[in-house]
Subunit: 202 residues, 2 copies
């Protein structure tokens, strides 16, 4: 943590770590203050209350976890290449933010209303339909199997995201450490891409 960060930045980083690990309910303002190297009062000086601090972190998580397919899909690469890039980028993002899946899954289930309000704001609305449309077109052209496109998208996201959400289980059962786990996830980029492309071959 560099020393010339502003206090606000330090707070936000600390809050991110603590909230992502413990969730809104389990997080403690004291712990966030400690992590940021300040005290509780100053925390409240910057963010009136816990709720407000949480909202910021929560929204930021959406921006990352909902892939913005637009740029990738706008290229004129063939579908196979686009799919590979999507999987690669998504797994890369998750390697950098491994706590994101469990955090968002917990919060969206704990307070679905809150969650739904967020994703209806234009700012963080996920745009799966672009990918769904692409797949449907490919199916019409007979270039892929006519599986309902929505399920293909869910499968792709599931295979990318789930291992991170269930990381403690995978590490525990396979008996591997963090470094080996990360290597495994690197491997998955290629494996998941091939798995999907093979599955949707006509």
């Amino acid at each position: 943590m560099s020393k010339d960060e502003t206090t606000e930045q330090k707070i936000l980083e600390a809050a991110k770590r603590v909230f992502q690990k413990k969730g809104m309910g389990g997080a403690r303002m004291q712990e966030i203050a400690d992590e940021a190297g300040i005290n509780k009062a100053l925390l409240h000086y910057y963010f009136r209350n816990k709720e407000q601090l949480f909202e910021g972190i929560y929204k930021e998580s959406f921006r990352k976890i909902f892939p913005q397919f637009n740029e990738i899909l706008a290229t004129d690469e063939p579908m196979e290449k686009k799919m590979a890039t999507l999987v690669n980028n998504y797994i890369d993002m998750l390697l950098e933010n491994p706590q994101l899946p469990s955090f968002v899954i917990y919060e969206m289930n704990r307070e679905p209303r809150n969650f739904l309000d967020f994703i209806q704001s234009n700012e963080v609305r996920p745009k799966f339909d672009i990918l769904v449309n692409l797949l449907e077109e490919e199916a019409k052209k007979g270039k892929i199997k006519p599986i309902p496109a929505f399920h293909i998208v869910i499968n792709m996201i599931a295979m990318c995201v789930f291992p991170f959400a269930a990381a403690p289980m995978i590490k525990g059962i396979a008996g591997i450490d963090d470094i080996t786990f990360n290597k495994m996830m690197e491997e998955r980029k290629e494996i998941v891409t091939q798995f999907i492309l093979k599955a949707i071959e006509p």
Copy 2:
């Protein structure tokens, strides 16, 4: 809720609902008492404390979420049939316990040590290795593609479990209600099975 349930049963059912939705940290003894139609004091009469009540619910969840592959895999059906049965049974269980994935994912990330202790007790230890072994044998025989078997198993579980963990997102984005969601998950039994079998064809 039938009226001749014992109080203990009512408590356990209420606790299950509340804990699965809110987790250990977010759950309130008051809320569990309300759901069970009793008061807090009586809750403590039956279960000394929150921790103890929680542990029971948590362990029970493992028993359900870790498929005991043994019986299914012990049959002499062909591999394709076994895979189909696994996916069917797993999705059926999840349709009956839709909150299970998000609950277990949250708790295993919140307190990994606790989680690891549990799955090392023989009672709830998952037995993925049986399926891994089967797939490796099939690969040796050249009957399936030589993809690392561990990844195939993760993919299978991911495609079954993830949609339930991320249900609020799927419902919100697709704009569907619970009934439509459940129908979609029924659909997935066949779709996921075919998706996997196609993907691992030699």
